[in-house]
Subunit: 313 residues, 2 copies
């Protein structure tokens, strides 16, 4: 398949592995890239020297394209961007921030820029800024999320209407069926997070991976909307947040409750009770930890099956 | 196309028009049925004698199958059900309640029963009760909605995994592209509400129809979760609800604010400020009021186009 996404990113299949904090280092990114998708290193949980290490390892483990995801709301952005440019990374996904801030700087250095949006307003904005492609991420996605709460089923057609950039769908993507659905809606590629968080090469703690497998319908919730909305797996920490709401906690009290290092504690260190566990609704139909390359191949096989069996009406 | 939904309901196309309060009387239901879909009379906003009148009119305006939607949370259910049986209605969609309550009674009378669910637990429950098919309705749908907040993109694959009944997808369905997406996910038919609320034959007030056309991304919100969660178009009444939340209103105070007749005031009488306007996220990509039959035909044409252009990968 040759479409605008595969051509832009130089990949075989239009499957992008989301650059998640604490889950996606060089092992996961290189495994996905080697399988024909696009692996992304998630820089959001990395100090600059850690990011440099992961980029260097990734380069030695794949000769195919890979990228780095940079959440613009974290500190050290300038250091991160300098490392990315110095190390010759060719593709950057920016998220959680204003695409105007870094797109010109990256484009000047010949880097392909993909920006993540959760609404039509930001999708339109990207078009005038030189962004090469966008990811439109629906309400069902894990981690930080849009305030409009627009779901993938509605967001993709809406964005397609107002923005002509190559379009990657995210949120709920975890199988070939969901890839086919996203393409029917107008996407040209997909980004999957949760499915790869529960892969063999994910750097998530084994206990977090198991928690993803255990998750069922209704086990995640978008919360902390006063801070940055985030979809969490329900656990003791989540219950503490809800209790704080029931006691009319102020925004400052919520910030204090969240504290520092909650996500690392849960997702990387495996404290399933006290940690912040960011994961999407798709966790409810993830039942097995598999190698990332196998996940890519299974998704593609199921896509082809789904396409072939779509009935004439 | 012959599938389990078209065979069960005796229809040409697996498109069901949702039985919405204040929007779907005999005019809309018969128009959809005449076009080859399944029209539903929405009994939730009808006194028993009004329902009887709509069923009788519907019978004289179409010789094709049609049905009645009965939200089980409203009063007068027994009267409604007796009228439905006496008038020889062949298909009943039950929603917002326990399917065990009325399924045996309806089945004894030879009536096809379809139950609306918003989670996997209730989908599984339907299987043992003699329900003929289910509608699985995602978070993006208008009106009353599930507490799990599972979106259509995630709910359909989840339900498909645990329940073997014929499956109709609802929530975000408004075009042939979204029908194709739903079928890729595992559905065998679709139910569309918002799209038909903004049709020529809808009994919604012209001002409400115009408000649907005006709605954009982020203009609806799921709220009143302490009562029965409902997705509303943001307006003055919605802002009053949010203000009540900000003042820590009790559940009793919310019930008092909602009062009686809010939905009728907004959707049927056209008081766009003070009324309760129930509509789905799909309203953001509905741009024109059209005859219901034309909507059905356009959806089918777009489905075929989408199917034909799904790329090989």
């Amino acid at each position: 398949m040759e479409n605008r996404i595969t051509r832009l990113l130089g990949i075989e299949f239009p499957i992008i592995q989301g650059g998640m904090i604490w889950c996606s280092g060089w092992k996961l990114a290189s495994a996905v890239s080697n399988a024909g998708g696009l692996g992304l290193i998630g820089s959001g949980s990395m100090y600059p020297d850690v990011l440099k290490h992961h980029i260097q390892k990734c380069k030695t483990h794949t000769d195919k394209p890979f990228g780095v995801n940079v959440p613009l709301l974290y500190p050290n952005i300038e250091d991160q961007m300098n490392i990315i440019a110095d190390e010759g990374v060719k593709i950057v996904f920016t998220s959680a921030g204003n695409p105007a801030a870094w797109t010109p700087w990256l484009k000047e250095r010949g880097i392909t820029v993909v920006h993540v949006v959760a609404n039509t307003k930001n999708a339109k904005k990207c078009e005038g800024l030189g962004v090469d492609a966008i990811v439109a991420e629906g309400f069902e996605a894990g981690g930080h999320n849009g305030r409009e709460e627009t779901t993938t089923m509605c967001l993709i057609p809406m964005v397609r209407e107002v923005c002509n950039l190559p379009l990657i769908a995210a949120g709920g993507i975890s199988s070939g069926k969901t890839i086919a659905a996203a393409i029917c809606l107008g996407a040209e590629g997909v980004q999957a997070g949760s499915r790869f968080a529960a892969s063999a090469e994910s750097s998530a703690h084994a206990s977090f991976k198991q928690a993803i497998l255990n998750a069922g319908d209704g086990d995640t919730q978008l919360t902390l909307k006063e801070l940055t909305p985030v979809r969490l797996l329900k656990n003791k920490f989540y219950n503490d947040v809800i209790e704080a709401y029931n006691k009319d906690a102020s925004t400052d009290e919520l910030v204090a409750l969240l504290g520092r290092g909650r996500a690392k504690k849960g997702m990387f260190e495996g404290d399933i009770d006290e940690g912040e566990l960011e994961i999407g609704q798709a966790s409810a139909f993830i039942h097995q930890i598999k190698p990332a390359g196998e996940i890519v191949r299974e998704m593609m096989d199921e896509y082809r099956q789904t396409r072939g069996s779509l009935p004439a009406l």
